[in-house]
Assembly symmetry: C2
Homo-oligomer: 158 residues x 2
DNA sequence: CCACATAATTGACATTCTCAATGGAATCGG
DNA sequence: CCGATTCCATTGAGAATGTCAATTATGTGG
């Protein structure tokens, strides 16, 4: 696959001869491509646990003491509230999270992981971390930290 | 909208109290969120030109002398070949690109921008760049260059 | 109490992702 | 040259995701 048939140019790929392509240093494009790779790897790693990146993210936030409402989950994960309904429905159906009425606001549901959900997440997390390490093998620890810091500023503009 | 009612905790958002959340320093998650923001801004900026980030990317690669085949476009943009068919169909219908038979491989179509396509891209590009600058206002030029370099390594692993 | 904003939910619809199958063309091994 | 295999573009189907409007119950401010 590294050397396609596509003869005329002697197997030189677009990526290699993208000299004047306007997408070259386009952060948006690089973001999209890196995200696509990351998403694919993540979903593959999570398949064994019956999770996808989406449901894993919800579960991750339900673990711990943040006790997010569905609206907060939607905002944090950049999802439409209606998508959160479906994700929580599914996780709840599987017994991994439960909805608790927010005592301070009876409109809101707080999403909390069950004991089983915490256990599932702990396992899944290992798989995700391993996949991520492999995907980021090119980056040193320093690079990784720098990237994380820069992305944080992009992902959570003040 | 910036200050939700969400009462009990005094307007403290999940993002602010995500102390122990396992997604905190998760590059994959940050990548997804930053990409979602970037995608939304890009599509908004391109709406005036009847383009979306997807079609804009294809057009960008069709401009210039790379002369990519559809398969190469798919690989570069991380799309399924069947998606490229639809994207090129649409751009071709609007007269922005054309398919040319690759003289070296009669199976392959090379996608090239028309004069009109080049003009449309030139305008659209300005809008995209402006939106991107605004979105990345938090980053200095150095930060931007560093981020670009790091993402390049993630997006195009060797 | 009233007018208005908000949280979760439902439903509809468009876009995107992923996969399998097909026809025409190239490549490789004999 | 021939057959087997691989590859490109295309079609079609089904799942996942994104976006939007409307509804119900609840909170907030006047």
């Amino acid at each position: 696959m590294a050397s396609p048939a596509g003869g005329a140019r002697g197997g030189v790929s677009v990526a290699q001869r993208r000299g004047g392509s306007p997408l070259d240093d386009d952060v948006s494009f690089l973001l999209a491509r890196a995200n696509a790779l990351s998403l694919a790897a993540g979903n593959a790693a999570l398949a064994d646990y019956g999770l996808r990146v989406r449901s894993y993210s919800v579960l991750a936030l339900a673990v711990g003491d943040a006790r997010p409402s569905q609206r907060e989950l939607a905002e944090f994960l950049r999802l439409d509230p209606s998508q959160v309904v479906a994700l929580v429905d599914e996780l709840q159906r599987r017994g991994l999270v439960r909805r608790e009425a927010d005592p301070a606001d009876r409109r809101a549901n707080v999403v909390v992981a069950t004991t089983e959900g915490e256990a599932c997440f702990a396992e899944a997390r290992l798989a995700v971390r391993a996949a991520e390490r492999e995907l980021h093998a090119e980056l040193s620890d320093d690079d990784h930290a720098r990237l994380s810091e820069l992305l944080q500023r992009l992902a959570f503009p003040s």
